[in-house]
């Protein structure tokens, strides 16, 4: 079991080593692509094991939880790893055309796979300190990917990115230390029980809020999202696609994990705070997008507003709310990464991402226009694309709780999303090119066409399939949400049923003593 779990985690490390050794040869990118494919393969093996057996867990070195470090995959974790694998393959292929030889020689592919390793580790670990380690791996490899281009603009973005994320990491580490001091354990399943025995519940809430702020920076929620719009438009398109797809989602994932598995003692506080954070994130993010005039900057601000929807689903803390959050996560990774990949093609054939300086893509590159419309309208929540179902579920979940203002905000933000997506459409696609250029896809060489367009086509097809056949994916997401709200299966898998039964009776007694 541990090998099924650790294969998608360890494979990128091996790929990274080989890719680094071959960074100056043509083989480097093929190593990267093969490694990405193997990573996706391992992720698919993992998800089939999870589908087969339910939540699976294992521990490293034979030291059982809570003493050693445990890895675990429930439906959500496994699905996130698969999506990571998909984005990995798409971007690895795209980088064939997007990444220059000199950047490859600096170790681009190694850093890329180390980033994938960090992301995968974060989705699979069942240990809070180990999660911190994966956050560090992600942070430092993403820093490398940000500065690898070496321009002043990129380094400026990278400095802001790394400083603010470092602050978040320090908060996270402080929180881990405090929580360990209160409970004496780091395993997340063990923490589920251990926190229930903490006497000073108020202090536990303070520590919980500390985690919320730390993960909030990672997830880029209001008012902690500064680093994202400061850096996402600067690096290569491959890098911004993989960042846009995955990085903030690790933060959202960590929020979901922490507040469904560990900090469930003070739901009133947590849900209220998350709810307002969600609404403000949606609104400020989408208004930020409305103020931009660059393809990638608009997309970057949209990430923030969409994170708001995911946090909203979590804040509702109902089965339907969490279904919405998980559906949103999975749909959004595909759509957002794809939009960034498309912006890269637009940059190549139309000569930029500043909307005022490009145009004519609708007339001259109709295929790209269609491929843009699919993720763009999906992001804006138009049916029958994947984003519609995600939005529909979240809005229905808030209406069911009679949260009128929240539902209204979510709908209104959807409208503003349409507004700024059509801005890209109208200016980059409909408006003729200001220099009367004809931005045809044939401006790409055959090699580059294949490397850039096939990932875009594949991701667009996935968006359409999720949109047309949501019924296929829904039961999976429903189970994922159920496992989050009722983590018995997760606890059993990580700690073993006997330990869970013992812990439950201990907590039960503690509650009885408290009652007396």
């Amino acid at each position: 079991m541990i090998w099924t779990l650790s294969a998608p985690l360890l494979l990128p490390f091996f790929t990274a080593i080989i890719a680094f050794l071959t960074r100056r040869s043509v083989a480097g990118k093929w190593v990267s692509l093969s490694g990405a494919v193997l990573h996706l393969g391992a992720a698919l093996v993992l998800v089939s094991a999870v589908l087969d057996q339910g939540v699976i867990a294992g521990s490293f070195g034979g030291w059982d939880a809570p003493f050693g470090i445990a890895l675990a995959a429930d439906y959500l974790g496994a699905a996130m790893v698969v999506i990571t694998g998909i984005i990995g393959v798409a971007v690895a292929l795209y980088s064939f055309a997007d990444i220059s030889k000199s950047t490859e020689a600096l170790g681009f592919h190694a850093l890329f796979h180390l980033l994938l390793a960090g992301v995968t580790g974060a989705f699979l670990t069942a240990d809070l300190f180990n999660l911190y380690v994966w956050f560090e791996v992600m942070l430092i490899s993403s820093f490398g990917l940000l500065v690898i281009g070496g321009s002043k603009q990129e380094i400026d973005g990278a400095v802001k990115y790394v400083t603010l994320n470092l602050i978040s990491t320090v908060m996270f580490l402080t929180g881990v230390g405090l929580l360990y001091g209160m409970t004496g354990t780091l395993n997340m399943a063990d923490l589920h029980f251990a926190v229930q025995e903490v006497e000073n519940k108020g202090l536990l809430s303070v520590v919980a809020i500390m985690f919320m702020v730390a993960f909030g920076v990672k997830a880029a929620v209001f008012p902690l999202f500064f680093w994202l719009p400061a850096s996402y438009h600067t690096p290569s398109f491959s890098v911004s696609a993989v960042f846009a797809g995955l990085l903030t989602k690790v933060g959202v994932y960590a929020l979901i994990r922490a507040f469904t598995l560990i900090f469930t003692h003070d739901p009133e506080l947590i849900e209220t705070v998350l709810l307002w954070v969600a609404v403000l994130t949606m609104v400020t993010g989408v208004l930020g997008a409305a103020a931009q005039s660059d393809f990638r900057r608009i997309l970057s601000f949209h990430i923030i507003s969409q994170i708001g929807y995911m946090v909203l689903g979590l804040a509702l803390m109902t089965p339907l709310g969490l279904i919405g959050a998980v559906f949103y996560l999975l749909h959004h990774i595909i759509v957002k990464a794809n939009l960034f990949l498309i912006s890269g093609v637009a940059n190549r054939i139309a000569g930029g991402t500043e909307l005022a300086r490009i145009g004519g893509l609708y007339t001259h590159a109709p295929l790209l226009a269609v491929l843009f419309l699919i993720p763009a309208f999906s992001l804006a929540g138009f049916p029958p694309l994947s984003g519609f179902w995600a939005k529909f579920i979240v809005i229905r979940a808030s209406l069911e709780l009679e949260m009128w203002i929240v539902a209204g905000a979510a709908l209104f933000v959807g409208l503003l999303t349409v507004f700024s997506m059509t801005k890209i459409w109208a200016e980059a696609f409909w408006t003729p090119h200001p220099d009367a250029l004809a931005p045809k896809l044939s401006r790409l060489s055959t090699h580059d066409w294949r490397a850039m367009m096939w990932p875009i086509i594949a991701l667009a097809v996935m968006t359409v399939i999720i949109g047309l056949f949501p019924g296929v994916f829904y039961p999976f997401v429903e189970t994922a949400a159920d496992q989050l709200l009722n983590p018995t299966a997760y606890l059993d898998a990580v700690l073993g049923p006997d330990a869970v039964a013992a812990a439950q009776s201990a907590v039960g007694q503690a509650v009885i003593v408290e009652g007396n």
Partner: protein, 758 residues
């Protein structure tokens, strides 16, 4: 717009004909269902789309749906045929046909859907295809703006509709429309008012009721076949369709009756007045469409059998004559190169077939016997007199709107053909190709045929639809040209007289309208104000948040943490304010004071060297604390790291610019306050944590197993390399990655510099 035969982009045979044939096949399919539906059956089909949320792709064909389907696919066929000639040779005709056909399918989906979510999905698909079609002349800024306006307004309405439909399904406990409308007590639910308002918002924006009407005339930026099909005969009627669909459930509430009556009456009258003002034929027609939509809404606010029969008859009448007239105007534009009323005249001799079709359609529009328009108008007057809301108001509104329609019919469809004195035209007019004539002729002729033989419609479409609207069969009134002399007939006479008078005076009326209306604020300008305001607000807000200065970002991040921790601590009474510090030794206190002083010095230092030294002292102080508490190994590590960082930073420093220009260091009170407050809060939290019992399960396990199971004497080492080996692996990876990143950064910047030098 149009193209001549020497155009190299001759539209291919298949591109031109496949949509026409497919649309005709769809029409034939629905025509084949007339028998079943008129017999009272309602064929259904469904597929579980998202069973987890009770969403089904469910279709149901009843009288109302079938009437719409026949209009959509029938007019659709003629429009596709028309467009293949109208846009013949356009390089993007393939895309155009695709959008238009997709629209037709989406529209069919709207009227056939029995599941509310399926209805919404198709509803939005009509919005998207409409957006692409209005912006079809994408190089024109006006087309892009108007496309966005339509998308934004109908999109906003659609979001309200979505919320309304979700609530409605929740109230009714079903997602099937055919079941929802039969649920008892729907209107007594406490959510009902809000739900109905949301649904009405969706319907009113789509069907362009006041105050959401202004997008529709702007949508005429689309090519004429689009205007004829979407923005007159079909899509804009989706809102009306929705109202009709929910009529059985809501029609007896006063909210329904009054909002439909008032919005419909205001739209009908106001639009008729504006129609008279226009000098562009297409714009004039656009406003008459608004009038028709207002009239249909007005009558859906009533529940009388006459009103319902009048509604469905007028719906059919309007679709027939309006599509015909739009195609006629398109043909005039195509053949003469202008749509300006003042320039056109005497086309009757040059384009006789077009003129005949236009005359028939215009007579139907004016409501003259023996055309179907006359029957429709009579029924509407009968319905108005029995109106449930305010018969006088409804009748007056209908009379005013109809009279104005008579005048507009004369201006739009008679004057260009029969008025003498032709001015020089951009092109020499001749009859349009047969593909462009077929539509107007067939549709106009149907107005006459149905007028002469209304029984063709009576049992096939009208009766089943009225039965659906009222919920009981056999209520439909008879369609006939002669009802005897009664009040509706007198009203018809008055309408004609009034209309003729307005027509005679329309020149001066128009001049009066233009001067008066130019003094009123226009809705369309309001839209620009709204959008610009939104942009400015967004820009201002974003400039406040995203300043571009890292120090601002850090300040807000720390402040957020501080506020969050303090607020939670106070709210949950988490902090312990009394701690016992009596066991603190003098040595520890001294270390703490020195460390704190060093930290303050670091913030106030004016040179980098001073900052580095001060931070070094802080690090050493921390190491000393570790030693005091019996962790010499940790202390050694700390000292090593500190020494190394001081050396590294000092080396790098030589290359850095001065810390503060001018050598003075402005003390930042705000920063200091945040730092001290955050430090104090962390101390409070720490004090709380250490006062709780320490759980030593893990420590005890490590102590016991380190030697016995893991064969190591140094517990810390065993933890690092065995118990938590994965962490150590990750941290080693971090160091290695930092190395790669540093290598990449240094090399990349030197590459970059080389590039600049070149």
């Amino acid at each position: 717009m149009g193209a001549t035969s020497e155009n190299p982009h001759q539209t291919g045979f298949l591109t031109a004909w496949v949509p026409v044939v497919l649309a005709a096949a769809i029409f034939a399919f629905f025509a084949g269902m007339i028998g079943d539906v008129s017999a009272g059956l309602a064929p259904e089909w469904s597929w579980a789309w998202l069973p987890g949320l009770d969403v089904a792709l469910a279709f149901r064909v009843d009288g109302l749906a079938l009437t719409f389907c026949l209009l959509i696919s029938g007019i659709g066929t003629l429009i596709m045929l028309y467009a293949s000639s109208y846009l013949n040779g356009h390089p993007e005709y393939g895309r155009f046909a695709l959008y238009l056909f997709s629209f037709m399918l989406a529209m069919l989906g709207v009227v056939l859907a029995d599941d509310i979510i399926a209805l919404f999905v198709f509803w939005e698909l009509t919005t998207i295809t409409s957006y692409l079609l209005i912006g079809f002349n994408n190089a024109e800024a006006k087309a892009r703006r108007n496309a966005l306006q339509a998308l934004f307004l109908t999109g906003a309405g659609a979001l309200a509709l979505l919320a309304g439909l979700i609530l409605l399904a929740s109230i009714a406990g079903s997602t099937r429309i055919s079941e929802i409308v039969q649920v008892e007590g729907l209107t007594e639910h406490r959510w009902f008012t809000g739900t109905l308002i949301l649904i009405l918002l969706g319907a009113f924006t789509k069907s362009a009721q006041i105050p959401f009407h202004f997008w529709l005339p702007n949508a005429m930026a689309a090519p004429t076949p689009v205007s004829a099909f979407l923005h007159s005969a079909t899509m804009v009627k989706a809102g009306v369709y929705l109202l009709a669909r929910f009529h059985p459930a809501f029609a007896d509430t006063s909210l329904w009756i009054w909002s439909l009556t008032l919005a419909g009456a205001a739209t009908a009258v106001w639009a008729s007045i504006l129609a008279l003002r226009q000098t562009d034929l297409k714009q004039a027609l656009a406003y008459t469409t608004l009038m028709a939509l207002g009239t249909l809404t007005l009558f859906l606010g009533q529940s009388d059998a006459y009103a319902m029969t009048g509604f469905i008859t007028f719906l059919i009448v309007h679709s027939l004559y309006k599509a015909a007239l739009f195609m006629v105007v398109g043909a005039i534009d195509h053949e003469t190169g202008t749509r300006e009323v003042a320039q056109l005249g005497g086309l009757g001799r040059l384009m006789p077939v077009t003129a005949l079709a236009a005359a028939l359609a215009a007579l139907s529009m004016a409501g003259l016997p023996p055309l179907l328009g006359f029957i429709g108008k009579e029924l509407l007057y009968a319905g108005a007199l029995d109106a449930i809301s305010a018969p006088v108001l409804v009748t007056a509104a209908a009379l005013a709107a109809n009279a104005l329609m008579v005048a507009v019919a004369g201006i739009v469809a008679l004057r260009p053909f029969w008025r003498g004195g032709v001015e020089a035209l951009p092109k020499t007019p001749h009859e349009a190709p047969w593909q462009m004539l077929a539509g107007p002729v067939i549709l106009a002729a149907l107005g006459l045929i149905f007028g002469l033989a209304p029984s063709l419609l009576q049992d096939t479409l009208v009766a089943p639809t009225v039965a659906g609207l009222l919920g009981t069969p056999d209520m439909a009134k008879t369609l006939t040209l002669w009802h005897g002399v009664n009040l509706p007939l007198l009203l018809s006479g008055a309408t004609l007289a009034l209309g003729a008078a307005i027509y005679a005076l329309h020149g001066s009326v128009r001049a009066f309208l233009i001067t008066t209306l130019s003094r009123l604020p226009a809705f369309d300008n309001g839209w620009d104000v709204l959008i610009n305001g939104l942009k400015r607000f967004a820009a201002a807000l974003t400039a406040i948040i995203q300043t571009g200065d890292l120090r601002d970002y850090m300040r807000w991040t720390f402040l957020t943490l501080l506020v969050a921790l303090v607020a939670t601590g106070l709210l949950r009474n988490a902090f312990l304010w009394h701690f016992d510090l009596s066991d603190m030794s003098f040595a520890v206190a001294a270390i703490l004071i020195i460390t704190a002083l060093a930290a303050v010095t670091a913030t106030r230092a004016t040179s980098r060297l001073m900052v580095v030294i001060a931070i070094g002292v802080v690090g050493v102080g921390v190491a000393l604390i570790f030693i005091t508490f019996g962790a010499p190994d940790v202390a050694i590590t700390q000292l090593l790291v500190e020494t190394l960082s001081v050396i590294l930073v000092a080396t790098v420093m030589l290359k850095l610019p001065r810390l503060y220009e001018g050598g003075t260091n402005p003390f930042r009170a705000g920063h200091a306050l945040i730092a001290v407050a955050l430090g104090g809060t962390m101390t409070l939290i720490m004090m709380g944590v250490v006062q709780g019992p320490l759980d030593l399960r893990l420590t005890e396990f490590f102590e016991q197993s380190a030697w016995v199971d893991a064969y190591g004497r140094n517990i810390v080492n065993v933890i690092l390399v065995d118990f938590r080996a994965l962490d150590t692996f990750g941290e080693i990876a971090v160091v290695a990655i930092a190395g790669i990143a540093a290598y990449a950064l240094l090399r990349a910047t030197s590459y970059h510099k080389k590039g600049e030098e070149k």
